[in-house]
Symmetry: C2
Subunit: 202 residues, 2 copies
Amino acid sequence: MTIQKLFANFDNYLPLDEQERDDLSKRVVERRIKRRQFILQENDICRHYTFVAEGCFRKFQVDKKGVEHNLQFAAENDRPAARWIMEIDSFYAEKPSRVYIEAIEPSVILQISKPDLLHLFMHNPKFDRNFRVIIENRFVELENRVLQAISSTAEERYVTFLDQYPNLSQRLPNTQIASYLGITPEFLSKIRKEISKKQVNP
Amino acid sequence: MTIQKLFANFDNYLPLDEQERDDLSKRVVERRIKRRQFILQENDICRHYTFVAEGCFRKFQVDKKGVEHNLQFAAENDRPAARWIMEIDSFYAEKPSRVYIEAIEPSVILQISKPDLLHLFMHNPKFDRNFRVIIENRFVELENRVLQAISSTAEERYVTFLDQYPNLSQRLPNTQIASYLGITPEFLSKIRKEISKKQVNP
DNA sequence: AGCAACCCTTAAAGAAGGTTAAGAAATACC
DNA sequence: GGTATTTCTTAACCTTCTTTAAGGGTTGCT
């Protein structure tokens, strides 16, 4: 069952006991999402924390020129903390979202609303702690990404991406990876050619 | 007194009552730090959460070529969440730090060790919640920075920095700002010239 | 006050990455 | 299973940013 995947996700942090699993499952809603469907659009308020049980999502922002920039991927079988997706700022402050969250594949998600999450936080510190650790892990990843962005060339960033997220590298189109790395698809194509040249001719 | 600045910092989140202030102050250590002094070096384990009461710090990583890359500034009078500085990964996992944290100005800090912080988390959920919110705020900032890095030119990033952190812009040397933006000091110099040209000649 | 260390700027050459356009290959969907 | 859409690649040209080198200005420290 889908909820088991959520329980298993918490096993990476402070595992939940029977009582806590029960509390959590009562406050979670399962949804099936089609490819290309949005679960959050710009100017909407982000009303849920979303856990990706199956499939894959991307979070992106659109600039003044209409170009999309991928901020995050969240996929099944990805690192535990990266299976959570939301706009945290919009969620807590209840202000309009600046990002979109879109399914890249047909997906199944579990969502928790803000009132339900706050209820869990209030009644059991373990939830507070678990979600703090999830954010902390995501924070570490983001800081690594900032470091990469300010210190490495596009080729280095791409190689690191392949190495760090082999799962994502295979299921995502290169256009989406390019957007995540902050380069054009054309330039990524050039990089890929360079890399394959190096591997044939060492 | 120095500790008052820490209490005031928490007033931005869930303010502490008398009892909680007392608990906190017993678990905090004040230190005076000279300019250029390190409070964390590469391969050391980060043993404290640090609150900047006076002065200014930078967190940076050194690449294989020996070039330094600034990941964070933490200064008095800066945004509340940005007055906390640590390497979260090293702190929780007790693994060697990959970053340095160095005082840019003579400073006064308040530090909490991991055992003390965990004690606070255990005995009062308000601390857990406050530190979760601090991390969440830092998370939002970091995501904005990633977006800037993948979507904007160096000039746009610099202008945003001036706008967003007027306080930091004035107290930091341009070399440090360039390192934070991910460009060379020479190119920042060129950008500054371009900008001043535009303002004289619209 | 004076010297060393740091900081800022300029400029020329070159590398990294973007833009435009167009065709070929793969994939989704009915 | 076939067509429309998306995706990937190539190449020529252009912009952004780095490298190297050098000179002048500030700042910190004792």
